[in-house]
Structures are given as structure tokens and as C-alpha cells.
């Protein structure tokens, strides 16, 4: 038996075994977790919604490939992150937008939101939300043209025309529903048979996906718990129905899929709790007092900016570390 090993035998530093979880697998599992919400969007808003999703994902991946190649860096389409950003963007815009809207939005999200900073892992802001904010600022009329699923307004009775142009949050915020003596059934809000962004309306579908991510250990429970919890508590403080605030708008999509984005949220356990609380507070402040009816997108983007600070000041106490001054 030869004592010198074949040069093909690997010599490397320990550890010599690795978990089978890879970045790529994580991204595709998040995409899988979003599938129910995307399907619900197509069911409620029709085939155009599917076209929006496809265009958005293709544009994101195309932009990723082009920008990486232009910068002379390895094209990293396989990691799935561009596809995920494209999907997320599609889910947070109105389902009836012309198809160039998701294309432009995704291109912006990837090029300016992500690659400018160095690509996956380096972007400070959630690229999909940045893309949405860009679209809303640039084409506000297109980005606020809402559509109710067919037969979803039966509860409005003869007042259909009075509610058909808006989503449920502004209708409640400005007291229009109350003045008409109307109330939307919470069950309808739960299954998602209402106007809203493509993938945000169905709480049922979103919770299914969220449960999958939580069970698989892909997202940390801290952020969504702190986010949803603080929204519910503040709703009570403001004298409003907490369940309505949890189900309406983009909160569930934001809390489980945007505020849990690894790259743009804190890495420390305490930092994650504070991040979630901050998102909840800002969301409710905007919903209650802000100029916009919905605050999920901006609250997460604003909290994204605090992440380096949160990471720095919420370092866990090390094993056996003695408190300073003790």
C-alpha cells in the first residue's frame, strides 16, 4: 500500500462535513412558499396577473445577468435571488398594471437596488420594496389603480360604485365605509377576495407559505411576531379592530416575506425583535396619521436603514461574558 496519497485526495481545513442547506436551496424554498399567494393572485385577478409575475421575474433575472456580465463578475442566476426579487415585486404591485411596469420595476430593483451595491449580500435595502417605491413615485396613477375580483363586492350592495376604485385600507381610513354603513366581511379579507396588490390579499395563502418557512427554519419567528404583535397592540391603542389591520393591506406579505429578508435585516436575535417592533410602529403610524393609506413598504425600507446600527448595539452577551462594571 502506498503511503503517499493520490494528489486528487483533498487536503483542506476542518470541518470536513457541511449541512446540506445552501443559499440556492433557501431561495427556491422561499419562492415555493410564495407560490400559494401567487396562485391566489391569479385566481382572483385573472391571467393578466400571471403575465405580470412572469414578466417581473424574467426582467429581474435578465437584469441580473446583464449587470453581472457588464461588471465582469460571475453571473449568479442560479442562486435564485433575482428570481425571488422579481416574484416579490410582482406580488406588491396592482395586478392590472401594464406589463412594462413590472419590467421597469424589476430592472430598477436589481440594477439599482442590488447590483450597484455589489450584488447579493451587500444591498442595504430590500430590492423588491425599493422597486415598488420607485414605481409608486414615478407612476402614481398606474400604481394605485385597483381592481376588485369579480363578484367580490356583493357586500357593498348598492354602493358598489362608491368603493370599487379603492382598496380596503383607504376606504376605512377616510371613514367612507362607515359613512355608507358598510362593513367588509373579515372572512372575505382572510381568503383574499378583495382589491389589493397582486399577492398581498390572501391571508390564507400567505400564512400557508409562512408556516412552511417557519417549520423549515428558513425564517426567524422573531421578526414577524414582533411586527404583527406591535401592529395588533397599536390597533387596540388607536381603538381599531386589530384583526382588520392584520388582514388588510400588505402586512402579512411584508411581515413574513419582506421583513425577514436576510440581507436587509438584523442578524442578532435582539436586533430582529427591535426591527420587527420598529416596522410595526411605523406601519401603524403611517396607516393612522400618514399621507398614504398603507405603510408596510416604507416602514420596512426605513427600518432597513437602521440595520447596521441595530446589529452593532444588540450583540448577544458572549458565553461567560461578565457584564461591564460588574
Amino acid at each position: 500500500m502506498e503511503t503517499m496519497l493520490n494528489p486528487e485526495v483533498v487536503v483542506s481545513s476542518s470541518p470536513h462535513i457541511r449541512s446540506d442547506v445552501t443559499t440556492e436551496k433557501i431561495m427556491w424554498q422561499v419562492i415555493l412558499a410564495l407560490a400559494p399567494a401567487a396562485c391566489a393572485g391569479v385566481v382572483f385577478f385573472g391571467w393578466h396577473a400571471l403575465a405580470v409575475i412572469i414578466v417581473s421575474m424574467m426582467a429581474a433575472m435578465g437584469t441580473e445577468a446583464v449587470t453581472r456580465r457588464t461588471m465582469g463578475r460571475p453571473v449568479t442566476l442560479n442562486d435564485g435571488s433575482a428570481a425571488l426579487t422579481g416574484l416579490l415585486l410582482a406580488l406588491v404591485i396592482p395586478p392590472g398594471v401594464p406589463l412594462w411596469i413590472p419590467a421597469v420595476g424589476s430592472a430598477f430593483a436589481i440594477a439599482i437596488g442590488k447590483q450597484v451595491f455589489g450584488g447579493l449580500g451587500y444591498n442595504p435595502f430590500n430590492p423588491a420594496l425599493l422597486g415598488r417605491a420607485f414605481l409608486l413615485a414615478s407612476w402614481p396613477a398606474l400604481m394605485t389603480r385597483w381592481q376588485w375580483p369579480a363578484n367580490s363586492l356583493a357586500w357593498a350592495g348598492s354602493h358598489v360604485d362608491a368603493v370599487a376604485g379603492a382598496t380596503i385600507l383607504p376606504l376605512v381610513k377616510h371613514g367612507r365605509l362607515a359613512s355608507l354603513g358598510l362593513e367588509i366581511p373579515l372572512s372575505q379579507l382572510f381568503i383574499g377576495n378583495v382589491a389589493g396588490s397582486l399577492g398581498e390579499t390572501s391571508a390564507l395563502a400567505l400564512l400557508l407559505g409562512a408556516a412552511f418557512l417557519l417549520v423549515r427554519g428558513i425564517i426567524d419567528w422573531r421578526i414577524p411576531t414582533a411586527y404583527l404583535g406591535s401592529v395588533a397592540v397599536l390597533a387596540l391603542v388607536f381603538g381599531e379592530n386589530p384583526l382588520f389591520h392584520l388582514l388588510a393591506g400588505g402586512l402579512l406579505l411584508g411581515a413574513f416575506f419582506m421583513a425577514t429578508d436576510y440581507v436587509t435585516t438584523p442578524i442578532t436575535p435582539r436586533g430582529r425583535v427591535i426591527f420587527g417592533l420598529g416596522c410595526g410602529l411605523l406601519t401603524m403610524l403611517i396607516r393612522k396619521f400618514g399621507g398614504y393609506p398603507e405603510g408596510v413598504c416604507y416602514s420596512i425600507l426605513i427600518m432597513n436603514a437602521t440595520v447596521p446600527l441595530l446589529d452593532r448595539y444588540t450583540r448577544p452577551r458572549r458565553f461567560g461574558e461578565v457584564a461591564k462594571g460588574a
Partner: protein, 441 residues
């Protein structure tokens, strides 16, 4: 009752089923042994023999140099062929004594059994553990007697025997506990007497139910002794974690077990001490697990120190297929080697051969800040930041973030989905920090 444990850690594929039921086989002494003078942490021993000398089995061939050092003994009888440098799997170079076996196993006449530990004073026992050449057999190989000579003002109240064997694939301690439980317990009692400890705990992961049973029987109701069943989780056997789990005590950052009144020894170290007291034969052999999918017939082997690892592999039928990686020790902390002449030393617990398909690899990508490393780090460090500071050469910041608390268990690297070499970067920076400290005195 739920088994005790610590915060963090990982659950890798254990792979112990390949060898945990296999009785220890004795490997015949090889034709030649290579005995490095640096088989332990601290100062290498000083060779006492020269080429051409004849040595006997158990004869001291290297004398401890300084306090943090232990002697080295001949593991066969025969003729010294050479005294010169050899490289070790960990990358260090050590002077080694090479002995050619005369096949007689002629025992050194001056060896005599010290006898029952109860008849010996604690001071004498502490001297004897050094004379036996005892250094931690779990892998770190810290000289045992040093732990039993605590600094002024510190007192040992508990001896914890480490039978966790949390490294995947290794079963040498498991088999020793099953087959030689009495010896392990006798060794523990002797260690307790040497340290003046009133309590002795043998901490074992619950996946070794037969070992727990054998040890409980060997303890035979002694009120000072107990077996602590611990959760099966890596790195359960890391010194600070085993103390946390078995006793609930937290060793301070930068501190030693003695700071909380504890000494931790490997079960094999205790058994070797018991052997020495009963027979006078110092540490000249140990159990090594030879395993992995790349080995034809995995085994637990009792081998003489200094045996080239090639002999162990031959005894196991050689490679099952073209090997992908050969590791001395366990897969989490053991170094990979490039030839098979490396000798078994006091800290060698296993030889693991991975098949080509098993070799972990993959391109290292950017950190996505998923936080998995933070979640598993038993010391509550932020490995992602430490590795980043290490990459930047920002040693001050790395120190401020507690890099020196890292015990290099490798959990962070194991879980990293971006395949970042976190622990390698951290280890590298730690080395630089230590060098810097030495320089500035």
C-alpha cells in the same frame, strides 16, 4: 427528564452506527514506531535516547521539559533507528524517536505498579499522572497533571469525565466505556483523590445508552459519583459546554474550568491512569476508531502509539474505493492529511476516510446574513462579523467582538449556506492576534 445540554450547536449526521457496536480489537505492534516528542500541548519532551540505543517497552525515551510538558515512553522494545524531525498532521514539526521492533515486547525492568490510589497521597498521584505521560486523549492533549495543580486560591470540587464523544463517526470512547467501565471509574476516583474533589461526574451523550448503563453499574451506588446523560449535540464535549450541561456552571470568558472549581478529563485519560496505577505501564497505546465510507472494514483498534496510520488502514482492509479525504480525528476538528506515515499519538482518536462523493466543497459565496452561524455558535459570538473582520485584517475589531472566545468547534462553517470558510478565517485571525500579543510582550 430531558437530557442536559447547552445553547446552540448542531446535529450533523453521526455516522457512529458504522463502528459503535464493534468490540475493540488489538492491533499487533508494528515493525517500527515513530514517537514524536510533541504529542501534547506545551513544551515538547526532550529525547533521552540516541540512534543505536536499545530500548524496552514502557521505557522513558523523552523527558518532560518544563512544567507544561509530559514524558514520552517507548511503545515497543527494540533499537532506536533515528532521532529527528517529523511533520505532524496539524502542520507542526516535532523531533521524533523512531524505534525498530525486536518483537520481544521486553518490559522495562524498572517499571513497577504504584498500586491502589487509596494508599497514595494526592501529591504522589499528581506526580504519577505526569510520570505516566498523561495528556488529554480527547484531542487537545493538554498535560493532565497541570490541571490538577491549580493556581493559588483555586480549588477543585468536581472532576468531570468527558464521555460525550460528540464528534461524528468516532466511537473509541464509547467502546472503552462499554468494555472498560470499571477502569474508567477507578481512574476517575484516582483523579478525584489527586485533585481533592468530592464529586465525580461522567458525562455521556444519551446516544450511548449501553455505555451509560455499564458506567452506572461500575459506579455501584457510590454517592460521590454520578453519570450525567447529555443531549446528543455537537459540540457537547467541548470543555465549557460539558461543564455547562453537566453542572450548570458557566466558565467565564477567557477563563478556565478551574475558575468554577472543575477539571475535565477524557474518559480514556482516566482509564489510562487506572492502567498505570495497576500495572506501572505508562501511556503507550490507545483506542482509535478507523471508519468512514472510504474504509473497507471499519474498526475500533487498540494500537501502540507511534504506529503509522497506514497500518491501521491495512488492518481494516484498506480503502473501499478511491479516497476523497483522509482525516486524523473527527470530521469537525481533525486535520486532513496527504500521506499515511503520520503516527498515532496520544490525542489521535480516529482515522476517517471520506469517499470522493462525500468530500464537502462548493464555491464560497457572499454572506447573505442569514444568521445561521449566530444561531449555532455555542459561545454566542457573531461568526459572520468575526470572519469579515478577519478578512479585512481588522484585528482590533475582531478582538472587541470576542474572537478569542472562539474554540474552533466549526459549527458556523458547518451551517453556512454560502459555504464561507468562517472558522478558517477566524482561526487565522486568532493566530495573528496571539502573535501580536507575544510580540508586544
Amino acid at each position: 427528564m430531558r437530557p442536559k445540554t447547552f445553547r446552540g450547536g448542531i446535529h450533523p449526521q453521526y455516522g457512529k452506527e458504522m463502528t459503535c457496536h464493534l468490540g475493540i480489537e488489538t492491533l499487533p505492534a508494528p515493525e517500527q514506531v515513530v514517537l514524536p516528542m510533541a504529542q501534547h500541548a506545551g513544551a515538547p519532551a526532550e529525547p533521552l535516547v540516541k540512534a543505536g540505543d536499545t530500548v524496552d517497552l514502557g521505557q522513558k525515551i523523552g523527558e518532560a521539559k518544563g512544567f507544561v510538558s509530559v514524558p514520552v515512553h517507548a511503545s515497543i522494545s527494540g533499537k532506536v533507528l533515528s532521532v529527528g524531525p517529523v511533520s505532524l498532521p496539524n502542520g507542526n514539526v516535532s523531533v521524533a524517536v523512531t524505534i525498530e521492533n525486536d518483537g520481544e515486547d521486553r518490559v522495562f525492568p524498572e517499571l513497577k505498579a504504584p498500586g491502589d490510589y487509596r494508599q497514595l497521597t494526592p501529591e504522589r498521584l499528581r506526580e504519577l499522572m505526569r510520570e505516566a505521560g498523561l495528556a488529554g486523549m480527547g484531542g487537545a492533549s493538554f498535560p493532565t497533571h497541570v490541571k490538577y495543580n491549580p493556581p493559588e486560591g483555586k480549588r477543585i470540587d468536581t472532576v468531570v469525565l468527558n464521555g460525550a464523544e460528540c464528534e461524528p463517526f468516532l466511537t473509541c470512547d464509547h467502546r472503552l466505556m462499554v468494555e472498560d467501565a470499571e477502569k474508567v471509574v477507578t481512574g476517575l476516583k484516582a483523579l478525584m483523590r489527586a485533585g481533592g474533589a468530592e464529586k465525580g461526574i461522567i458525562a455521556v451523550e444519551v446516544n450511548k445508552a449501553d455505555a451509560i448503563k455499564a458506567l452506572e453499574k461500575a459506579i455501584a451506588g457510590d454517592p460521590q459519583l454520578s453519570v450525567a446523560p447529555l443531549a446528543t449535540k455537537y459540540p457537547q464535549g467541548e470543555e465549557k459546554m460539558i461543564i455547562r450541561a453537566a453542572l450548570g456552571r458557566i466558565v467565564p470568558s477567557g477563563g478556565l474550568p478551574i475558575d468554577v472549581g472543575v477539571v475535565v478529563n477524557n474518559v480514556a485519560t482516566a482509564a489510562a491512569f487506572a492502567d498505570y496505577l495497576a500495572t506501572g505501564m505508562p501511556l503507550i497505546s490507545r483506542v482509535v476508531t478507523v471508519t468512514g465510507r472510504g474504509v473497507k472494514q471499519p474498526k475500533n483498534l487498540l494500537v501502540r502509539l507511534g504506529t503509522p496510520i497506514q497500518k491501521l488502514l491495512e488492518a481494516c482492509g484498506g480503502f473501499a474505493e478511491e479516497p476523497g479525504k483522509v482525516i486524523v480525528g473527527g470530521p469537525m476538528t481533525g486535520p486532513a492529511v496527504y500521506h499515511l506515515d503520520f503516527p498515532v499519538v496520544k490525542g489521535t482518536s480516529g482515522i476517517l476516510v471520506q469517499s470522493r462523493a462525500e468530500v464537502a466543497g462548493g464555491e464560497s459565496m457572499a454572506c447573505i446574513r442569514c444568521g445561521r452561524c449566530v444561531k449555532v455558535c455555542p459561545y454566542s459570538l457573531l461568526p459572520n462579523f468575526l470572519a469579515e473582520f478577519a478578512e479585512q485584517g481588522n484585528l482590533d475589531q475582531a478582538e472587541a467582538y470576542g474572537i478569542m472566545d472562539c474554540r474552533e468547534c466549526g459549527c458556523c462553517t458547518f451551517v453556512c449556506p454560502s459555504r464561507r470558510p468562517l472558522m478558517q478565517l477566524i482561526r487565522n485571525a486568532k493566530g495573528k492576534i496571539l502573535a501580536r500579543r507575544r510580540k508586544s510582550g
